[in-house]
């Protein structure tokens, strides 16, 4: 007979990520490659059976356009006077500036929304409203206000990128874990120190997810932003090509947008793993 009221000992082994067996990984890579090959085969099949390059261009035609738009030929520089990489660079620059402004604004707004109750009550419907609008809908308004140059495009991307960050930040800041806040206060942290050392780092993973979403939204909005006076710009290039029924250039533009988008998301994910190693641990 024991006088102890102890509960049975609780195992405290920490969950560790189990390394996946390499065979599993190899199989997944193989599956992806296979899927790509099948997709490519279907594309070629569709192109050959329809035999209408304006409807479905062949992969060879798209490849040819890649070469043409990336070089100077017969005195013509790339497409509409700009190389493909230049189109892409201009669009990426717009995305970068637009999302940077949108993310900064979203962070500030989200922090305020998450900490000041009356501000959340006032701004939440507005943010949700803007979030629900397709960017092309308010682009017309920006054209009227700011003309057709760079300004309305950057405004469009900023406004499109802001809501995801604001919503994510507000939610993350509100969910500060009481246990850790108490631990910090027990160590003598001031209100500001609790915000800086507990609330913000705890919110960072969620905020970063918001940032990735925002960059994605800016990416998908750049084509809309470049529908008017969009050359140079990858969206402007696609738009022009569509007007002249250069379907192969359209498809090339889609590939350029999609692949660079994947690359940027991979970069953001790497940055996330580096900067926020505690994701999923708090």
């Amino acid at each position: 007979m024991t006088t102890s009221l102890d509960a049975p000992p609780v195992a405290t082994a920490l969950p560790r990520p189990v390394p996946k067996p390499s065979g599993d990984r190899r199989r997944r890579v193989a599956l992806r490659v296979l899927a790509l090959v099948v997709l490519y085969g279907l594309w070629e099949l569709a192109a050959r059976t329809t035999n209408n390059p304006t409807f479905i261009p062949s992969s060879g035609a798209v490849w040819h356009q890649l070469v043409v738009t990336s070089s100077i030929h017969d005195g013509v520089r790339g497409y509409s006077g700009h190389l493909l990489v230049e189109h892409l660079a201009v669009s990426l620059r717009r995305i970068l500036i637009g999302s940077a402004i949108g993310v900064a604004g979203g962070l500030v707004l989200g922090l305020l929304m998450g900490t000041v109750t009356w501000l959340r009550v006032v701004t939440e419907p507005v943010v949700t409203f803007v979030r629900a609008l397709p960017p092309l809908a308010y682009f017309s308004l920006f054209i009227i206000w700011f003309g057709i140059d760079e300004t309305p495009k950057l405004w469009l991307l900023s406004i499109a990128a802001l809501p995801p960050v604001a919503v994510a930040t507000a939610a993350a800041v509100q969910g500060a874990p009481t246990g850790l806040v108490e631990a910090a206060r027990a160590l003598g942290a001031t209100r500001w120190q609790v915000t800086r050392d507990v609330t913000l780092p705890h919110a960072l993973p969620e905020i970063f997810t918001g940032v990735r979403l925002a960059v994605g939204v800016a990416y998908s909005s750049v084509v809309a932003a470049e529908t008017i006076n969009g050359v140079p710009g990858i969206g402007g290039m696609v738009r022009d090509a569509q007007r002249y029924s250069q379907t192969d250039v359209v498809v090339l533009g889609l590939f350029a947008i999609g692949l660079s988008g994947l690359l940027i998301d991979a970069l953001l994910r790497t940055a996330e793993n580096r900067l926020i190693p505690w994701r999923g641990r708090a």
Partner: protein, 274 residues
């Protein structure tokens, strides 16, 4: 409030007529209690007897519904006046706190957690000082590790080092070893016993383990369940140092105290249907 002051100079904690209610339910009290400086007080009781609430009252995280809670060591610029220089507790000032869960900040390394505590206290957070604190709780070469890369027992040691970093006269521990396995728990008990003896700090330790209470305490208080009141207040007349843990547990007096306290806890917990 200071008119009927039972506290004398040298006391670390003074509770007078402390009651705490959640709505209609009285969780604690009334409790009158003074803890002299340097004492290792253990509060024992079955689950839900309000012992954690009592500790949170002493930490300043909860305010008593009636009565007064005052502790030493809230640093104030004015010279201390009568009543033992006690004042109402403010979280983070005057008392280090260790919870049942380590509550480490995962965005900081192990050493970073201790350094943060030093910085909050306005002390220099040098790597040497951080390592010194970690070594005091029996940790070596872990300062650079992430908090999830060390075991649960080590995490709780870091939590204790963090609470010790701030040189408060008072250390409050809320079932800090309850979630650990038996072996780790015994090791941490031994080390806490050693550390509290070395630093001479006043400790208030909450547990539901009678064995732990007798092993650690220089005084044990058994609380009744709902509302938590003092059922038994017993000084532990065992040698505080110079004995190995097994020798201490082997003493007939140890067994006698354990039996007495265990009986008090059990008779009290039967009053509440489980």
């Amino acid at each position: 409030m200071s008119s009927a002051d039972p506290a004398s100079p040298g006391d670390a904690v003074a509770l007078s007529g402390v009651e705490h209610r959640y709505g209609d339910v009285t969780a604690v009290g009334p409790v009158d209690l003074t803890v002299p400086g340097g004492e290792f007080l253990v509060l024992v009781g079955a689950s839900g007897c309000g012992k954690s609430t009592l500790l949170r009252l002493i930490a300043g995280f909860e305010q008593p519904t009636s009565g007064s809670v005052r502790t030493a060591g809230t640093p104030s610029p004015e010279p201390r006046s009568g009543g033992g220089g006690l004042s109402a507790p403010v979280p983070g000032r005057g008392a280090g706190l260790v919870f049942q869960q380590p509550r480490l900040f995962p965005w900081r390394s192990v050493g970073g957690n201790v350094a943060l505590a030093l910085r909050y206290a306005g002390l220099p957070a040098t790597p040497d000082r951080v390592n010194q604190l970690l070594e005091r709780v029996g940790l070596h070469d872990v300062a650079k590790r992430r908090t999830w890369q060390i075991s649960g027992g080590q995490q709780q040691r870091v939590a204790i080092a963090r609470a010790l970093a701030v040189e408060n006269p008072l250390l409050l521990l809320d079932e800090p070893f309850a979630a650990l396995d038996a072996l780790t728990r015994e090791r941490l008990q031994e080390d806490l016993r050693r550390v509290s003896h070395e630093t001479g700090r006043t400790c208030v330790f909450v547990t539901h383990s009678v064995d732990e209470a007798v092993f650690l305490g220089s005084r044990v208080i058994v609380l009744t369940p709902r509302p938590g009141r003092i059922a038994l207040d017993l000084p532990i007349d065992l040698p505080r140092a110079g004995l190995a843990p097994d020798e201490l547990r082997g003493l007939p007096r140890f067994a006698a105290l354990r039996a007495e306290i265990g009986a008090a806890v059990r008779s009290r917990s039967q009053e509440v249907p489980a």
